[in-house]
Amino acid sequence: MRYAYYPGCSLEGTAKEYDLSTRATFRALGIELEELPDWSCCGASSAHTTNHLLAVALPTRNLVIAEKQGLDLVAPCAACFNRLVTAQHKMEQDARLKGKVEQVVEGEYQGTVKVKAVLEVLATDFGVEKVREMVTKPLKGLRVASYYGCLLVRPPEVTKFDDPENPTTMDALVEASGAEAVMWPHKTECCGGSFAFARVDIVEKLSNDILAAAKSNGADCIATACPLCQANLDMRQKAIEKQFGTTYNMPIYYITELLGLALGLEPRSLGLGTHMVESLRLLREKELA
Amino acid sequence: MKEKLSELKETVARLLKDRTVDFFIAYQAGHSQVEPIPFFLTTAEHVENLFLNNFCAHNLSKYLLDYLAGDEVVGVLAKGCDLRALKRLLTDHRVERGRVFVVGLPCIGIYDRKKVQEVYPAGLVEVVEEGEEVILRGETGDKRVPRKEYLLPRCLTCPDHNPEFYDLLLGEKVANGPLAEEDYSDVRALEEWAPGERRRYWTRQFERCLRCYACRNVCPACNCRVCCFDVAEPRWLGKGTSLDEQEMFHFTRAMHVAGRCTGCGECERVCPVNIPLMKLNKKLAKDIGALFHVPQAEIPTEVEPLGQFRLGDPDEFN
């Protein structure tokens, strides 16, 4: 299995761990990734609020490169994934827009490349059962709340990914890793997203709801597949605790970190230990790291 | 096809002798090699007069309509196209399957008498097929011509080289598949003309019509017990020959077979004044395919295209 890899800007910055763990986990599973040459910004989150043409043109530039590469494209970042599939959807619907965009990016868009989220590659293309077979260090005793956020599942007619109200792809992978997937209702609730810069109060309230729900449903930690979700829940956790007078101390992992661990990879090689909320202590308590 | 003659003779003789059929409809020799004519056999002694070659165009199943009132079992020789005609009669409930014994005849094409006679006005002995070509072997020597150009039009697009069903098949099945796709190019060409030009074209055609009704009589879809052209009241059609009555006739005939025409082209073949009737039938077939998604190959259908509708049919009438 071989994919084109589109890291996007987050994975080079705040979500470095996601990049590390995705590459490491994929390598361990034997899935080859070939970084998209000369990739550029997908436009999230500002392009589509300022210029509709730009919002489609930016992802399309990357799609056109991927088409030349002739591989399906993995975009680990949920925002990148969402922008890429939205661009595809829009051009499918509107031939005139497609013509304009092609002019802008100076290339022809065929629509031959499939854009995939990490979860889809792992659960569907590779297969949950095969993941389970390759697990060497089952994450026994770890209770994980799978948090999908909004960008992977909405709008469903565009993302075509799992059930928008109650997705289960990540839960299946969590179970495959030997951990316990906690049933909880906040899988696709909004974390506040990029409102983090403008309205901290809203983000803190929304993220608090998510943390509280995970805790009250018995989770030890949360697994994510989106840099922004991870950042809001992890980076702001201290502030939230202060704001709402509560204590969570809940590690926020990327799903690829947990899987890598279960596959027997070194925690440090996955970026573990660099989160804001101490991420290794819980694992040591459970004798998983 | 000729080579199957002896098998045909044996078969017909046996069917008549063991009373499987009460009589049999096949071909006998006509004025010349290119003009075989229908042959109605009642006893096995007559099988020696049977005839078969690749000019046997007549659709014999239409004659079944003459034997409706009775209980005889009629044997009939049927090529793929004839079987479609028989299916038409069965679908229209005009003939009971139980009263027909079908002897299927695999066929790779029937030659157009008129075209061959242009090359060989008289004295043709036989036609020998050699791949893409045929040799017209005559008393005055051989002529080698491209096969496709001398076949009947229906044979070019024929989807059924073997009859779809039969009670008994003469010889082995032959390779199937049409020689050419029906692209309605002749219809399309006419559609491109200016309306006035088209009007003049059809006027020239209909003017010649003798109202002999041969086209109707040979047509498997024209199988009404009483034809509307033959009744006095209501007067669907005047008795005189005038251009407007001729046009009324051709319009009505075309509409009556719309969605029911099997595409055999017998109407055109038998027209003594060469009116291109298939240009009308094919126009309707083409539109029925495009508007209602019933391709010619699916006709006869269980419910005719004009006897049904879809809520989502095209609507241009507002």
């Binding site: - | 409706l68 005009r94 009483v226 509307c228 209501p234």
Partner: protein, 652 residues
């Protein structure tokens, strides 16, 4: 020729028309009058017919849609067959739309010429009569069916009331109180159920379904499948020993599965008939082959394990369809938990939970843990007015029953809070708006205008998150119980039943009335009538009104011994018909059949297939005539001959 005062005469030069028409072949007498439809005008026609011994009449006047019937009666008075009359419409189609005499006059002449050409080809038509079997079939034993059956029976006619459940009563029996009066549903329904059961003219067939329907108005042939009850109804006394001793339990459908019943059971205490039925899927005797307790304890010896389905063939003159509705399945709403949260219930489930004879004895306990809810959220328009996941239509009853349920909650448990999420509050009914006002003002029900976006569990509660669009803010309510006002939808087998009987239904599978305003209880199949929610969402008052209307239609039909059929029906010339059957699929009424006739050909008799028209079913549209190539199929009153003659007369 009518002047219609100056309506016609001022625009059409009738003298010139008269001169032209007098010259037409077959025309022997032309006269004008000022108002032909008036008494003297009609008398003039009668006199003209008698004096000139006329056998055809053309009236040139207003539209035949106006006075054709009037003038048919006029010519009949003179002893002429009413169908030997034609109308030339020289008012609506001529004098009223053309301004100059020069325009209108030649056109009037053409119209008269066409009418004359047609009328000479008219033939006397007689309305044949078909006998009326004065027995009605009512399908569905809910309030609609019960009301219709009672009204028809009270009019003196036999009724068979067929219900597929073991008891009549339907949805209304499941309800607790009714709006806007808050009287108890059972208290007003059960007496009617008993009336229906005891009425000498009504025969109840419960636990029975319609298998097949043939025939036509006045003469339907219906096969009814009486499902095996495993209890001999004639012998059973309804003492109840069997169900008290039965060891097997199953969820009680009547309580929406919230309570349990036995395998041999009556759905609820006031069931009519009060005779149990064995649910064979859950009965130990039928599943495991041993038990038979009910049979052993039955003092009447009524339990019969060997009983089989019975097929009854009955004749009816009319059918009332009153099959009711189902509730929308809210499990398509992922945001409301896909129907998986036990404390998210439907309005009907709420009815059972507060009903004294319900599974909780009338104490509102929530399904998950039996706790008494302190905060209840009602969500309206679940599946209604939602094209994305439900249906675009309004279910009409939810606004009112939600108000009722909120009132009942607050009345029973004043300490409990009631919140209602709504899109609009629709209260068009007598006393309805006042009732809603009481809910908000007197009972303090909190109405929030907005959709609910999400329901999720939090602890043992449910968080209902929605929008209050009047305030412009998100609201979250931590509720103990959420009640969804789910849409009323057509029964899943509605389309199948409509096809079986032969009438039409709409895109939502509600049955279609013959005219949305003027014929609301008839179907397009004569003799089949509609009552209640099978035709569209309805509350009880509307349902009862429609049921009584349907009953009157039936009684009207039964007031005659014979029915006059529409004489303008299709007719087959058997000599011409080839029996090809292509006319059949064009008939919307299934009025065309194929029959075999025998005829002499030479010395022998042969049989031949021809089409035949059921004149009881044919409505005279003429679609079949065009499908017939040979012209064997013709339409009386609009024959091929007549229409061609009109064309030729106009083109002269």
């Amino acid at each position: 020729m009518c002047w219609c005062g100056s309506n016609i005469a001022s625009t059409v030069d009738l003298d010139r028309v008269q001169k032209a028409v007098e010259k037409l072949t077959n025309v022997v007498h032309v006269e004008q009058n000022k108002y032909t439809c008036s008494e003297p005008g009609q008398a003039q026609i009668v006199a003209g017919i008698r004096e000139h011994n006329l056998d055809r009449v053309v009236v040139a006047a207003c539209s035949p849609r106006m006075h054709e019937k009037t003038f048919q009666r006029t010519v009949a008075k003179a002893g002429l067959n009413p169908y030997l009359l034609e109308i030339a419409n020289i008012r609506e189609h001529c004098s009223w739309v053309h301004t100059s005499v020069e325009e209108a006059t030649p056109k009037a002449i053409d119209l008269l010429r066409a009418a004359v050409a047609k009328v000479i080809r008219n033939t006397p038509l007689t309305t044949s009569t078909i006998p009326v079997e004065k027995r009605a079939l009512v399908i569905g034993g809910g309030i609609a069916g019960i009301q219709a059956a009672l009204d028809i029976a009270d009019a003196g006619h036999q009724v068979v009331l067929v219900e597929k459940e073991p008891t009549i009563g339907g949805r209304m029996a499941q309800l607790d109180k009714t709006f806007p009066t808050l009287d108890c549903s059972a208290c007003i329904l059960t007496p009617k159920m008993v009336d229906a059961a005891q009425h000498p003219k009504i025969r109840l067939l419960t636990y029975a379904e319609i298998e097949e329907v043939g025939g036509y108005i006045g003469n339907f042939e219906v096969t009814i499948r009486k499902k095996a009850r495993s209890v001999n109804e004639d012998v059973c006394t309804g003492c109840g020993i069997c169900w008290s001793k039965c060891p097997s339990k199953a969820p009680n459908e009547f309580d929406c599965g919230l309570g349990e019943r036995k395998a041999i059971y009556i759905p609820f205490p006031q069931a009519v008939p009060n005779k149990p039925v064995i649910d064979r899927e859950n009965c130990r005797y039928f599943t495991k082959g041993k038990c038979g307790v009910c049979k052993k304890v039955c003092p009447a010896g009524a339990v019969d394990f060997e009983q089989e389905d019975e097929l009854l063939r009955e004749r009816f003159g009319a059918i009332v369809v009153a099959t009711g509705y189902e509730l929308f399945d809210h499990s398509v709403y992922g945001e409301y938990g896909y129907g998986k949260y036990p404390d998210v219930i439907t309005g009907l489930e709420f009815e059972r939970l507060i009903n004294a004879s319900g599974p909780t004895g009338g104490k509102l306990k929530r399904p998950s843990d039996g706790k008494i809810p302190k905060t209840v959220v009602f969500v309206k328009c679940v599946g209604s007015r939602d094209e994305a996941k439900g249906f675009p239509y309004c279910s009409r009853t939810c606004c009112m029953y939600t108000a009722k349920q909120a009132i009942l909650l607050r009345e029973k448990m004043p300490e409990a809070e009631a919140y209602v999420f709504y899109m609009d509050v629709r209260t068009p009914g007598k006393g309805y708006e006042e009732f809603y006002t009481r809910a908000t003002e007197e009972f303090g029900v909190n109405y929030l205008r907005g959709r609910v976006a999400r329901i999720y569990p939090k602890g043992d509660q449910l968080v209902v998150r929605g929008e209050d669009t009047l305030v412009g803010a998100q609201v979250e309510i931590e509720a103990d119980l959420v009640v969804l006002a789910t849409a009323m939808v057509a029964r899943r087998d509605a389309a199948e039943l409509a096809q079986r009987i032969g009438f039409s239904y709409d895109q939502y599978h509600f049955f279609t009335e013959a005219h949305p305003k003027l014929r609301p209880v008839e179907t397009n199949t004569a003799g089949v009538f509609l009552a209640g929610a099978c035709q569209g969402p309805k509350d009880i008052p509307d349902t009862v009104a429609q049921a009584s209307a349907a009953a009157v239609k039936v009684a009207m039909l039964f007031s005659r011994d014979e029915l006059e059929t529409n004489p303008m029906v299709a007719t087959v010339d058997e000599g011409t018909c080839s029996g090809c059957e292509w006319c059949k699929p064009t008939c919307p009424y299934g009025a065309i059949d194929i029959k075999t006739i025998e005829e002499r050909v030479g010395k022998r008799t042969v049989s031949r297939r021809v089409a035949t028209v059921n004149t009881g079913l044919c409505q005279g549209c003429g679609a079949c005539t065009v499908a017939c190539r040979s012209g064997a199929m013709n339409l009386k009153g609009f024959t091929n001959e007549q229409i061609l003659a009109e064309v030729e007369a106009i083109c002269l």
